[in-house]
Amino acid sequence: MTDASAGIDDLGLIPRKTTTTVAMDFGRVSLDSELILYLFGTPGQHRFWFMWDDLVRGAIGAVVLVDTRRLADSFPAVDYFEEAKLPFVIGLNGWEGQYPHNEEEVRDALTLAPHIPIVRTDARQRESVKSTLISLVEHALTMRVSVPGRRG
């Protein structure tokens, strides 16, 4: 958190958040000698949306990382990726292994179509992130194979 975001980033329900919202995280994973996977992370706040249009172009898909303590903040991101017809999965972010809401509650709350995967994840754990990415690529591939011409 910076002073500049006071009153902008609503942390009312998230008392322990002490870190700032970095405009964009970036990762580069060399999968093999010819294949590089780029990971772009971007905050959900509306003022960063101008970055998204560029990121979805040519992308395999997206992970919408959801904090169930403020589920409503995820509505716009879900809408965005549905609109962009980019395959996405919901990553339910757990804190200390706690997931206060189950998958079906979240599916109902976000009015998600049944085919959109919801996976439990911890964005700070390598294995967890890896398995989330695998779910995403599997989903993107399924979408591509089952619905030719459609990417969502």
């Binding site: 964009m24 172009r57 040519g58 390598r126 690529v137």
Partner: protein, 116 residues
């Protein structure tokens, strides 16, 4: 994932003078950046700008410049836009075909992720 990393010492918006968008014509993540000539050892450039010029002596995609500098992509873009305006780098559009991903690539990515 980098809990121990204290992060950059200079606030990111400080690097760009508060700007979030690069000057000039837009360019995307896979555009290729190339340093012009060898005259970049200029004393008035900040370390990040000099690092870009050093990196891009070998033509490098925008996304890789960001990765090597460990900077957010849009901060990197502002820096690249500045360098282009000064005539110190060129930024070329990639061929359109480079954007397309076929099914084989999905399967390769999946396979490689599983064996990470």
């Amino acid at each position: 994932m980098t809990g121990e990393d204290p992060g950059p010492l200079v606030r990111l918006f400080g690097l760009t003078g508060g700007r979030a968008r690069p000057p000039g014509e837009s360019f995307n993540l896979v555009a290729i950046v190339t340093t012009v000539g060898t005259t970049f050892e200029q004393a008035d450039l900040t370390p990040e700008y000099t690092a870009v010029l050093r990196t891009c002596r070998i033509p490098t995609p925008v996304a890789d410049v960001a990765a090597q500098l460990r900077l957010p992509i849009n901060i990197t873009r502002v820096i690249l836009g500045d360098l282009r305006r000064e005539g110190l780098v060129t930024i070329e559009r990639p061929k359109p075909a480079a954007q397309a991903i076929d099914e084989r690539i999905y399967r390769e990515v999946l396979h490689a992720l599983r064996s990470l």
